[in-house]
Amino acid sequence: MTSRPTLAVWKFASCDGCQLGILDCEDELLQLAGAVQIASFTEMTSAVIEGPYDVSLVEGSITTPGDADRILAVRAASGLLVTIGACATAGGIQALRNYANVGEYTSTVYAHPEYISTLAESSPISSYVQVDLELRGCPINRLQLVGVVTALLAGRRPVIPGYSVCEECKMAGNLCVLVAHGTPCLGPVTRAGCGALCPAVNRGCYGCFGPADTTNTGSLSKRLADLGLSERGVSRMYRTFNSAATEFSKESLEHDA
């Protein structure tokens, strides 16, 4: 990379929360803008520099024919392509359409479905192009993002944990809400990164960082059923913000009554 690499931020179907994570780096934002050249970032600046870009951060999932073409152009203009957040990495909450009839969805929300151009499925970026690094979370943990950009600037490999929320929870010294309170919790199968926020407020993890590297969803589902969750309840737990991630998708279908 040259001394001042170029950074571009792209948005597809999303809530803007992961990009906002960049603007939420209040202590690092002006420094970041000095270390890299922000070449394209619509939410932050009217200035646009033409590509190619050394690093592209991609937020959002692919849900329209137009976006399916646009991601190819983004890939072609990018050195490293990093997806940020659950939408870009696993289709996001809008991937719930993958389990329904999108035509019916369109007529539920819009009076003139013919004005709406949409794909039957919401897909992660990796379904369309090669992704170099994925940052999980709904939303991402901005400290992870700062870590990744710092690592890329230093020319070293970023460290992203693949273990589960349970490990972070133990490190945080939280009481196990599943064991101690019988609260349904996806922590055992969910990737670390948030800092075990939910158990810290006495609620079960709801899986917003998606599946950990190794998961035993079948065993967890049995425990969830023992706690009194219906088949539909179990299915719903896997079917939120990362419902298109392979492990969560498969397990939700197992319990889709």
Partner: protein, 435 residues
């Protein structure tokens, strides 16, 4: 002055409006020196929230609807809670209501500081972003970032996370923060309150185009305080309704150029929600110090110049800091943190004031709490027609301007209302067509 020659026929196209949240574009067509058409196009891809909420559990909307918008998730969570609790016939105790208001103040501080300093102010200095502005005036931008950070801290403290908080549930919270945790916010909030006064003085010194719009204002109103998390829906032309009654009279239209539905009131012209509306309808409820600061900044009891919305936003920023400080000082942890909300077969509606305007949700539940229907009215879809009308007025009064300047002013006219396009889609590029 009647423009002639090259300026008589033109189109202004802004594709990918910058410094707004989400994606949209603006098309302006000028023919024979007269304004022909203004269209705000929202091409944010549809995400179908109202469809996939059907069949989900009644305890899920706070977490699910938060994902409509990363900038105002608390607004979605609070409106969802209000709507579901209304459907179930539950009223939360005052202590929970106050903690919700404290969390919401955090979002107002965060969102208003973001819009004033990072998205809106650069326009008034001819800068393309806050980084350029920081080169001209580092102290101002650093102040904005500190304010924003204080708002985020407050949200993290009460909500567990600033973007998509995890501590909110139907009936209240998963965990009540301890007194000492909230007490730690008092000093940063005192500093933020001082810096928000500096913010008012700073933005009041900007140069503003002299434009007065004729707005129909709609906002929540509460007898005891400047409404945020609860109230009745009132308007500048005499509406006084519950959120449910208001939902019944607001008509949503679907037009080809937009994946956001346009809201109108049956038989009436478009309306505006947000800081200008709240200030006009509820200004008397602001604390005296905020009213004095507004008067010193040159605001009367009503501000109808959309470019001056940045001053109103700064007054509200001061208010949110002051109110958060009051709530933090008086804080008593709610015990229990949440009250039970047994489901019932009923419909309910809830409205709260998102930083950019009123946000209404309505749900219909069955006896087990399964959602039978959902309706979400985000502020930007309610404001879209009025924003178009603002742009029309700006173009009509600026036909002598060159394309570059006119385009910049059109973009600013949109940005004045802090539109959240991600929310509305169910939005910005500017194009001016002088053909």
């Amino acid at each position: 002055m009647t423009p002639s020659g090259a300026n008589a026929n033109r189109t202004i196209d802004v594709h990918g409006l910058a410094r707004v949240e989400g994606e949209g574009s603006l098309h302006v067509a000028i023919h024979d020196g007269a304004l022909e058409r203004v269209e705000l196009e929202i091409f944010e891809p549809p995400r179908f929230f109202e469809a996939f909420l059907v069949g989900r559990g009644y305890e899920e909307p706070p977490d699910i609807t938060a994902r409509i918008c990363g900038i105002c998730p608390v607004a979605y969570q609070m409106s969802a809670c209000a709507a579901i609790e209304d459907a179930c016939g539950v009223t939360v105790p005052e202590s929970i209501g106050k903690l919700r208001r404290l969390l919401y103040c955090g979002e107002w501080i965060q969102s208003h500081a973001l819009h004033i300093y990072l998205l809106h102010a650069p326009d008034f200095f001819g800068c393309r972003d806050a980084v350029e502005l920081a080169a001209l005036n580092p102290a101002a931008v650093e102040r904005g970032l500190r304010l924003k950070k204080t708002g985020n801290h407050l949200m993290e403290l009460v909500g567990g996370r600033a973007i998509h908080p995890v501590n909110v549930r139907i009936g209240g919270f998963y965990r009540s923060p301890e007194r000492a945790e909230i007490a730690a916010m008092i000093e940063p909030l005192q500093r933020a309150r001082e810096e928000s006064l500096e913010t008012i003085a700073w933005v009041a010194s900007f140069e503003f185009p002299e434009i007065e719009a004729n707005y129909r204002f709609v906002a929540l109103s509460h007898p005891d305080h400047y409404a945020i998390e609860a109230g009745r829906v009132v308007s500048s032309d005499g509406i006084d309704a519950t959120p449910g009654e208001f939902a019944d009279v607001a008509v949503e239209e679907h037009v080809a150029r937009s994946s956001a539905l346009h809201s109108r009131l049956r038989g009436r012209d478009p309306y505006l929600t947000g800081p200008l509306a709240r200030y006009a309808l509820n200004g008397s409820k602001l604390p005296k110090a905020a009213r004095d600061a507004a008067a010193e900044a040159g605001l009367g009891p009503v501000c109808a110049n959309p470019f001056k919305s940045i001053i109103v936003r700064a007054v509200e920023l001061y208010f949110a800091c002051d109110e958060a400080l009051r709530l933090a000082t008086e804080y008593e942890p709610p015990e229990p943190a949440a009250v039970p909300v047994p489901p019932r077969a009923h419909a309910g509606a809830g409205a709260t004031e998102a930083p950019r305007g009123m946000l209404l949700q309505r749900y219909e539940l069955d006896a087990e709490g399964t959602i039978l229907s959902a309706r979400i009215m985000p502020p930007t879809s309610q404001n879209q027609l009025t924003i178009e009308s603002d742009v029309r007025q700006v173009v009509a009064s600026g036909l002598e301007l060159g394309d570059t300047e006119l385009t910049a002013r059109c973009e600013l006219a949109v940005r004045n209302h802090d539109p959240c396009i991600s929310c509305a889609a169910h939005f910005l590029d500017v194009s001016i067509d002088r053909s």
